[in-house]
């Protein structure tokens, strides 16, 4: 698919990073020195002299001139170098926006990057790498130097011919997705930790948001998100400059957590998740949304004058959802540097509710309060359940969720056969905690720098502080989505479609599994652990991703499971409860250690119960241990477990949960 000739596609701006400059310089005789198709002195290469296609148009101008050094003296918008003015023509202001977007989307501060590559660069600093280093997957000490770059003349010819056709971003991703996921945004150590795919995607989003609230004037670009036009002038004079724009143009980063007021009672009330997943997928396609999961949303927005937060989140609010938002408003240069952690004083907390009337009457001839959400008047006529005859007063929103689920034929097993056959069900929730993720990423980055340099800890800390969150978070979220998809596929393979209901979306963060045999609850965890280890092996000890499982009969009210499943993440990544019977919370390595003990084979339930009863009577762990150790030779696995530090409560919970499954 192509775009009109005069449309700039910012996602392509770094396409030059896909080529191997050294190899192509040898092959073509041109001096490929940077990813701008320029020589050592940033002069544009004459591609036609090597019989290569020469694209034209704004996208090509962005590819060639998005580096600050090629703009002109002091990055002034009104006096670019003649070559830039000639090639970019009318698209020059758009190229400036690409530069701003590029700065915003970078994974580290550009100023630090330049400092490091100067004369003071350390002798033993690791060389550049053409392969992205994945912080959560790749061994920090095994850094690859080579990558799958385009290194032949014919491939370069194809690439330039491709650009000359004005391809859309989707076509670009389709053609080069493999390369983009393997090549880093920046080759220099230690900035090679984000993929070019994420960077290009972010630049595209930032660019379009920036463009939506700027206008061209005869004095350059002006921001129209304030009462007056803001040009972004330099400190000396009146000429707008890129640094001036970055320090004077205010934007907002918004982190949202979406919740709902409903207390789902019947299976079809889970339609609330269907709607939420739909809305999040729609919002995720918008340029203002940087990343999202089922209940989390990160947005990049101009000031309130251009678009109000309530307007930006209108689809969610109209559908009855509640959005808790952390809003950071600051100039662009501040927004790009982890503002939520660095400048909490600039962060505003807001909870957005759907419209709520001042009062809701409660009499027999006027609407009552909705029995599911308790925040809207119900419809005058009650909903009648044909099977039980129960009447419920619901508002239009809650009734809509129920109707949606029913219309789409969802959750029939949950509310039908599983309930009738009386199988226990396991509600399975996977969640990603972004606050914790940021701490984990910083630690992984620290380990990466430490493994590849002999820098003192203070210097390493400085590097860690330069790390920016957005690009890494997006990269991580993409892998997280892969984990969700693989996990759901594996469960379907292991349990069969008849035993699974996916509650939300194609990459379900919430699903429910019928436990038709004993031991299946742990099989779910085993599956999660296997998939987790393949995607995030370095996060096992301190995981920002949690797996929560809540087990009961199918009739047990969902909202009580949800309280457990949606609780803020605890210290342990794996949390299992069998309602009213047992609760087990362990880290991933501890869970694996427990599984490896093979305790299912040990018929130790009564022994564990006895020891637990001693503790209940005496409140003494010592006496509990004494009771457990008495005659423990008959239970070698149990002995091994206690010597590894597992408590009687953990072991008893494990035994109880392992025994759940089959008809109740």
């Amino acid at each position: 698919m192509t775009v009109p000739e005069d449309e700039l596609v910012p996602e392509l701006h770094d396409i030059g990073k896909l080529i191997d400059n050294e190899a192509l310089s040898q092959e073509t005789g041109l001096d490929f020195a940077h990813h701008y198709f320029s020589d050592q002195k940033f002069r544009p290469l004459d591609l036609s002299s090597a019989n290569l296609p020469v694209p034209v148009g704004p996208t090509w101008a962005a590819i060639r001139y998005h580096g600050g050094r090629v703009l002109g003296p002091n990055s002034q918008l009104t006096s670019p170098a003649p070559a830039v003015r000639r090639d970019a023509g009318d698209a020059l202001p758009d190229v400036y926006l690409v530069i701003l977007a590029d700065h915003l989307a970078s994974s580290t501060s550009r100023s630090v990057a330049q400092e490091e590559t100067g004369d003071e660069r350390r002798e033993n600093w690791p060389p550049d790498s053409a392969s992205a280093h994945c912080l959560w997957r790749d061994d920090p000490g095994s850094r690859r130097r080579t990558g799958p770059l385009i290194s032949t003349r014919s491939a370069l010819h194809d690439l330039l011919a491709f650009v000359a056709k004005n391809p859309s971003a989707a076509t670009f991703y389709e053609r080069y997705a493999d390369l983009l996921t393997q090549i880093p945004e920046e080759k220099g150590f230690p900035r090679d930790v984000t993929t070019l795919l994420t960077h290009c995607n972010l630049v595209g989003k930032y660019y379009r948001v920036l463009r939506s609230c700027t206008e061209r004037t005869n004095r350059g670009l002006a921001y129209v998100g304030n009462e007056q036009r803001v040009y972004g002038r330099d400190e000396r004079g009146s000429r707008p400059r890129i640094p001036g724009m970055e320090t004077e143009w205010p934007f907002r980063l918004v982190r949202c957590k979406v919740t709902f007021p409903q207390h789902p009672a019947r299976a079809h009330d889970l339609g609330v998740f269907l709607r939420l997943a739909e809305l999040m997928a729609d919002l995720g396609a918008q340029d203002t949304v940087l990343l999202h999961t089922l209940t989390t949303l990160w947005m990049f927005l101009p000031t309130d004058k251009v678009i109000g937060l309530r307007d930006a989140l209108k689809p969610l609010l109209d559908a009855g959802f509640i959005v808790g938002a952390e809003v950071a408003e600051a100039p662009l240069c501040d927004l790009s540097s982890n503002i939520f952690y660095r400048r909490p004083d600039l962060v505003q907390h807001i909870v957005l509710h759907p419209d709520m009337p001042e009062t809701i009457p409660l009499t027999h001839d006027t609407p009552r309060i909705c029995e599911l959400c308790h925040v809207r008047p119900s419809r005058p006529a009650p909903e009648r359940d044909e099977e039980s005859g129960v009447e419920e007063f619901l508002c239009a929103v809650c009734a809509g969720f129920r109707e949606k689920s029913s219309r789409e034929g969802r959750f029939n097993k949950l509310g039908g056969s599983w309930e009738k056959e009386n199988f226990p069900v396991a509600w399975v929730r996977i969640a990603l905690d972004y606050d914790r993720l940021w701490c984990v990423l910083k630690d992984l980055f620290r380990r990466y720098v430490k493994a590849n340099t002999d820098l003192p800890d203070d210097t390493i800390r400085e590097h860690v502080n330069q790390l920016r969150d957005a690009a890494l978070m997006v990269d991580f979220t993409r892998d997280y989505n892969d984990l969700l998809r693989h996990f759901a596929d594996a469960l379907r393979r292991d349990f069969g479609d008849a035993s699974i209901e996916e509650i939300a979306g194609e990459r379900p963060e919430l699903l429910v599994v019928a436990l038709k045999e004993a031991g299946q609850a742990f099989k779910i965890v085993d599956t999660f652990e296997t998939e987790f280890r393949s995607v995030f092996p370095l996060c096992e000890d301190d995981s920002p991703i949690s797996l929560s499982i809540s087990i009961s009969n199918a009739k047990y009210p969902f909202f009580e499971h949800w309280r457990f499943l949606d609780a803020p993440q605890q210290a342990n990544a794996i949390r299992i409860q069998a309602v009213g019977r047992a609760r087990l919370e362990l880290s991933i390595p501890r869970f694996r250690a427990l599984r490896n003990l093979g305790l299912e084979e040990t018929k130790a339930s009564s022994k564990l119960h006895n020891a637990a009863a001693v503790f209940a009577r005496t409140d003494s762990h010592l006496l509990e241990q004494v009771d457990l150790l008495d005659g423990i030779k008959k239970f070698p696995n149990l002995f091994a477990a206690t010597s590894q530090g597992f408590s009687v409560a953990d072991l008893l919970a494990y035994h109880k949960i392992a025994g759940i499954g089959g008809v109740l």
Binding site: K257, P261, H263, A265, R266, L309, R310, G324, P344, Q348, H349, I350, V351, L352, H353, M356, P357, E358, T359, I360, P361, L362, T363, I369, E371, L372, H374, V375, E392, K555, Y556, P557, F559, E560, R563, P568, G580
Partner: protein, 217 residues
């Protein structure tokens, strides 16, 4: 304005939420701040119970609210009988707290001056099952509250916010406010649900109902 501060203790207490599907009656959720955990004692619950104790009419002016600071969560499954037929309906599971501690603050006025130093009064749900008997001990003298800013620890109707030092103007529009409805009687047998401010809202008001902090999750 001054308030009586009462220390509340109870063996077993159920302060519940209105929830559909009557087979499960959960407690109001806990509001966590660091290692501390609070449960709201909503204005409607506190005022209703005190009116009942004092033998006041449904519309007698009285203002009170509080929160619980301690209590161990338990569950109880019962099968209530229909009074007419004597037949047990579906069993219901009730969440309740045992060994409960908390505080109630009552506006000092003509009505509340009648409250003794120490007294017992029923509060919350499932009283017919023996839950809800609360002991209240009054502090020696009323407190003169100071203004502060922090997280609200209880639930208060918008109309009663000024009593607790919260300017209703500050909670208009969007902000760090959690919203919901509380029941307000309008007759002996009827009432309306009124828009209310819930626990976790960050507001300026009298400090005794606020917990300092910076974060709303």
């Amino acid at each position: 304005m001054s308030f009586w501060e009462f220390e509340l203790t109870a063996e077993a207490l159920h302060i519940g939420e209105r929830i559909k599907k009557g087979t499960f009656r959960p407690l109001v959720p806990a509001f966590k701040r660091g290692s501390r955990e609070y449960r709201p004692l909503p204005y409607s619950t506190a005022v209703g119970s005190l009116r009942e104790y004092l033998g006041l009419k449904w519309d007698a002016p009285l203002h009170a609210a509080g929160y619980l600071t301690e209590g161990e969560e338990k569950e109880l499954t019962i099968a209530p009988r229909d009074n007419v037929t004597g037949v047990a309906k579906l069993p219901i599971t009730i969440q309740y707290l045992v060994r409960v501690r908390g505080k109630i603050f009552v506006l000092v006025d003509d009505q509340s001056r009648a409250l003794p130093e120490r007294f017992e009064m029923p509060m919350g749900g499932l009283r017919y099952k023996g839950l809800g008997l609360c002991r209240l001990n009054k502090a020696s003298k009323p407190i003169e509250p100071e203004k502060g800013e922090g997280f609200l620890l209880t639930r208060i109707p918008d109309t009663a916010l000024p009593v607790f030092g919260i300017d209703p103007e500050q909670v208009k529009g969007d902000g760090p406010f959690r919203r919901g409805y509380l029941f307000k009687p309008t007759s002996m047998s009827g009432g309306v649900y009124v828009k209310s401010l819930f626990e976790g809202s960050r507001v300026k008001g009298f400090d005794f109902l606020l917990e300092d902090g910076h974060e709303i999750r």
